[in-house]
Amino acid sequence: MTAKLPTMTYQERYNALLNKQPTDRIPFFHRGYGFCAKNTGFSIADIYEDPEKSYLAQSRTAEQFHSDGTPFYTFVSYGSWEFGGEIHWPVDRYASGPSVSKRPISKPEELDDLILPDPKTAGCVPKMMEFAKLQEKNNVQIAFICGSPFTHAANLCGVETFMKWMIKKPDAVHKAMRLMTDHIISVAQYFVDTFGEGKVLARSAAPSESNKLISPKHFETFALPYLKELHAKVLEIGVDRIYCHVCGEHNDNLPLWAEVPFGDPGMLSFGHEVSIEDAAKTFPNHIIAGNLDPQIIAKGTPEEVFEGSRKVIEDGMKFAPGRFLFMSGCEIPSNTPGYNIYMMQKAVEEFGWY
């Protein structure tokens, strides 16, 4: 057991990371949303539906596992409710996140009738704003959901329909991408107006454009141009920087991602499918986060979690020294044993000192 003790608070560590200053140890984030709810005795629906409870569940869990991540609001099905669809809260047995119960559109023609919603009242934005006020009050990073435009646009009609349109109705895909990009920009403006320039972090996740689903060619045609535009625009209007979770198998998209601005430094996290070495080399100036396989954390033995963590931490410190954040490769399932998260923490406190 190491005798080392931290010399920084999580806040000092986070600020130092963003300012490219040395930190005592690598920052660590456990990354579980439903997990925080279960861990603290709340329901999964609470964490999406009730900002107060959600904040509490996340901050207490972070405290418990010495995790440097601060509470945030997220919504994978974003894009549907915001444009007039309906959402079903995860109240049923086994439910893990909100799901779409009614899509705003199902046919390309219906795109013409969609209007840009008022960002102040659209879908989950009021909850996200309420959450951001809690972030402000508690003096932690204020954040809003900023895409990815492709993942959210696909939620308008459903991923599979969207995929068919990519081949048969490319104009409809571009139209949906245009709408979603403009919507996200309006939300960014609302947050900057509310909290001020340089104060808010744009958070995004890109699962639906992974190479598990689409080709790098389609990524380049349908996702990349809007990502570039959106990121440049939100940085221009005063968003501090962008954090993006490059979710899943994105290896063939990596050179294209390198064209996207994220701020200085931006933050990118990766799944276990992308090696920390490749990520660090593709983005030599940004903060790199990742990437222990969530499956190992959820189902592995404590020893496997500890060993897996060690390997990732060593890679991170070798390939992205001073700009590495250790986390799960993606959201961990809500039924992950807490002891396995403790094993991640233990590995950080054993191997993560600079």
């Binding site: 086994y94 599979e160 068919k164 048969k168 190479n211 080709s215 499956q295 189902k299």
Partner: protein, 213 residues
């Protein structure tokens, strides 16, 4: 004759359902029987699609469109198929389990199974364990195929298997598990009769299980 069947197979990757239908009609008009059109044209075509997907030469949008071509052509072909005593008809009930809305993988498995000539009853996503059993009874199925993409919803699969074991079906119904977090050892230990990693594997698995019966 070979030429037109080859064209039908290849047409699935042109993503124009009308063109596939036109070729199927042309083949039928030239006197080729429906079963040959199905087996040597459409099924062969879907086989190629499955291989290309497996080797990452094509992705979900392409498979989904090829599937649409196949499905529209099946509407033309199916009424013309004459059942023969030697035919092995396989009926599969497939769905994504309760609590889980991930259905892209399940849809691909369903379509590859259709492409292999099985009768596929897709009962959608977020399906209760009992609903799998009810559907299998209603359609006199040979196979119940469950898909799950979440480690939390994996837990529903053993429930389906247990219900199936206790149920009195007319046939010896086999239960399959699949989806990204599932692995063979877990599936077999938790009541499955079989597991496959991907859509092409799922087709082969069904063939193996049915021939063993």
């Amino acid at each position: 004759m070979m030429d037109i069947l080859k064209k039908i197979a290849e047409s699935l990757m042109e993503f124009e359902p009308e063109d596939t239908i036109a070729l199927v009609n042309e083949a039928l008009a030239s006197g080729i029987d429906a079963k040959t059109v199905l087996n040597e044209g459409l099924i062969k075509g879907m086989d190629i699609v499955g291989q290309l997907f497996k080797t990452n030469e094509i992705y979900v949008p392409e498979v989904t469109m090829a599937a649409e071509c196949l499905q529209e052509a099946l509407v033309v072909i199916k009424p013309l198929l004459k059942e023969e005593p030697s035919d092995v008809k396989v009926t599969v009930v497939i769905g994504t389990v309760e609590g889980d809305v991930h259905d892209i993988g399940k849809n691909l498995v369903a379509v590859m199974m259709e492409g292999a000539g099985f009768e596929v009853i897709d009962i959608g996503n977020n399906v209760l364990a009992q609903t799998f059993i009810d559907a299998a009874k209603e359609h006199n199925a040979d196979i119940i195929a469950c898909s799950a993409l979440l480690t939390t919803t994996m837990a529903v699969m053993p429930e389906v298997a247990a219900l199936a074991k206790n149920e009195k079906f007319e046939k010896d119904v086999k239960v399959l598990f699949g989806g990204a977090p599932i692995f063979e050892k877990w599936a077999l230990e938790n009541g499955a009769d079989g597991y496959a990693e991907d859509a092409s594997g799922a087709v082969q698995l069904v063939k193996d299980l049915v021939s063993r019966k």
